[in-house]
């Protein structure tokens, strides 16, 4: 049969961010795919070397709009350790609470995008409507729906009073019912299963060879979650369950993310109940002593890695960021092989790409 090359992107209804695929087809089956990145490359690592540590908090927040808080969390905890600061417990709890709220918002966003891509628009509308509850809660706490600017070097800049806590408890209870209903309906829905089961498969062997992280890895049977296995922040005080599946296809990834959302809601409620008294931040000096540090955290998409090197001034000597999407993108070629053209949208959405994170 003749080969046909179908270009997808940089502007395409499937893609929310610019990236380019060249998909080679024989008939309706994909035989090869080439990915071109770099459309969102803003040179963050170079910019970070020209700004002070405090200015970098605002720059790093805008590496990605969806997982902005986890980026600043990883950065701030690295700089705080270099400075030898100990963030008060209340500050750590508020930081962790926002990490979990962000995980909920990110997974509901992904669910909407996946559903829209496979043609089930109703789930998109329901998921994004329920996502508004989380955005309202985050706005109550921080003042921003998408970009919170809650983290500062030394802790957090917001505190929760009795009214915040009451709103959080009510909001999370409502969200819990809605998300559990969504999870139950997707779990048993035959249209959703028909569009997602058995495609985009990755075995555990592939996951280890390509160093895949996050829900994509956990859906192929890899039992690693940094919140449980290398706890940071307030995660040290909480036990958590990590949902694992072993089918390795888009359906398994969807279920892992939905169960993770339910877990995140439960964890957020426990954090709010156990919130300790005290200050929320300590004062941080501007000059960071010489040294280097590696910091890891579990973003909604997987392990996010930061390396900070300081030479004793107010400006970092080197900031290295490695985001989870960059790791997962390497497997996309393998996932798309032998898939029907109509399922390409499902595979691309199932990986939950955040090209802004990957390109930096």
């Amino acid at each position: 049969m003749n080969k046909v090359v179908v270009p997808i992107g940089p502007q395409h209804p499937l893609l929310k961010e610019p990236m380019s695929f060249l998909i080679s087809l024989e008939g309706e089956q994909v035989v090869d795919s080439v990915l071109r990145l770099g459309y969102v490359h803003r040179g963050i690592e170079k910019l970070a070397q020209q700004r002070t540590y405090i200015q970098n908090v605002y720059l790093i927040e805008r590496i990605c709009g969806i997982c902005s808080h986890i980026h600043t969390t990883t950065y701030c905890q690295a700089v705080e350790t270099l400075l030898g600061l100990e963030v008060p417990k209340r500050g750590l709890y508020i930081r962790t609470l926002l990490c979990e709220l962000e995980r909920i918002h990110s997974h509901l966003l992904w669910l909407g995008v996946l559903s829209k891509n496979i043609g089930l628009d109703t789930i998109f509308m329901y998921a994004w409507r329920d996502r508004e509850i989380v955005l309202n809660l985050m706005e109550e706490i921080s003042g921003g729906r998408v970009s919170h600017a809650v983290n500062v070097i030394g802790g957090v800049r917001v505190d929760l009073d009795a009214m915040h806590i009451a709103t959080l408890q009510n909001g999370l209870a409502e969200l819990n019912d809605r998300v559990e209903e969504l999870t139950r309906s997707i779990e048993h829905d035959r249209s959703f299963a028909a569009r997602t089961r058995g495609i985009g498969k990755l075995t555990l062997e592939d996951v280890k060879r390509f160093c895949v992280v996050g829900p994509v890895a956990r859906a192929s049977g890899l039992n690693i979650d940094l919140r449980r296995d290398a706890p940071y922040g307030a995660y040290r005080d909480f036990e958590m369950e990590v949902p694992i599946m072993d089918q390795g296809d888009v359906w398994a990834r969807s279920m892992v993310r939905m169960y993770e959302t339910v877990q995140a809601i439960r964890l957020s409620r426990r954090i709010v109940e156990a919130l300790p008294e005290g200050a929320v931040s300590v004062k941080a000096p501007r000059k960071v002593p010489q040294g280097e540090i590696v910091s890891r955290a579990e973003a909604p998409r997987g392990e996010v890695f930061y390396y900070v090197r300081s030479d004793g001034t107010q400006v970092p000597a080197r900031l290295k960021v490695r985001t989870p999407t960059l790791t997962n993108l390497i497997t996309l070629s393998k996932q798309l092989k032998d898939v029907q053209m109509a399922d390409v949208s499902s595979v691309i959405a199932g990986v939950d790409l955040c090209i802004a994170c990957a390109d930096r």
């Binding site: 770099g38 020209q50 700004r51 160093c211």
Partner: protein
């Protein structure tokens, strides 16, 4: 295996003795200094010992290029390799760890270090028509100018 045992095993096999610690979250990193020639042997040994997760490859530029290979296996481990300036070149680990391909391609276009054995050395992030050199490299001149700006501006820090 615990990370301590893995580190001891690796150093004994390769006959190394230069082990330092670096700050890390939640635990400190073990940093093993090794010559570039032993890099592939070290990675093979690590894979044998069950350490397969390579988090990232960081490149630093001081008097020479320093490559840090960050591994994680319920504990942190970094391999530190130095590459001479001039025509920097080192063997690629992407045959052993396919997940390293993107990290090496990024370092190649940002710093200009060649990786022998990298199957796909094309541009990753920079545009196809990029002709303005290696963006992340610092030269002595650039360092001097950047230092002056910081001292003058202090809070401002940014450039135009």
């Amino acid at each position: 295996m615990k990370m301590e045992d893995i580190v001891n095993d690796l150093m004994a096999t390769l006959g190394l003795d230069n082990l330092q610690t670096m700050l890390g979250i939640p635990d400190d990193e073990q940093v093993i200094h090794l010559p570039a020639a032993q890099l592939l042997t070290a990675v093979e040994k690590l894979l044998e010992l069950g350490v397969w997760h390579l988090s990232a490859i960081t490149c630093l530029q001081e008097k020479c290029f320093i490559l840090l290979y960050h591994f994680w296996c319920f504990g942190n481990l970094t391999l530190r390799v130095e590459v001479a300036e001039g025509t920097p070149c080192i063997r690629s680990v992407s045959a052993l760890i396919p997940g390293a391909e993107y990290y090496e391609r990024e370092i190649r276009e940002m710093y200009g270090i060649e990786f022998e054995g990298l199957t796909n050395p094309s541009s990753l992030f920079l545009p196809d028509n990029w002709h303005a050199g290696y963006p992340m490299r610092t030269t002595d001149e650039q360092n001097a100018v950047a230092g002056e700006n910081e001292r003058k501006n202090g809070m401002q820090g940014g450039t135009s």
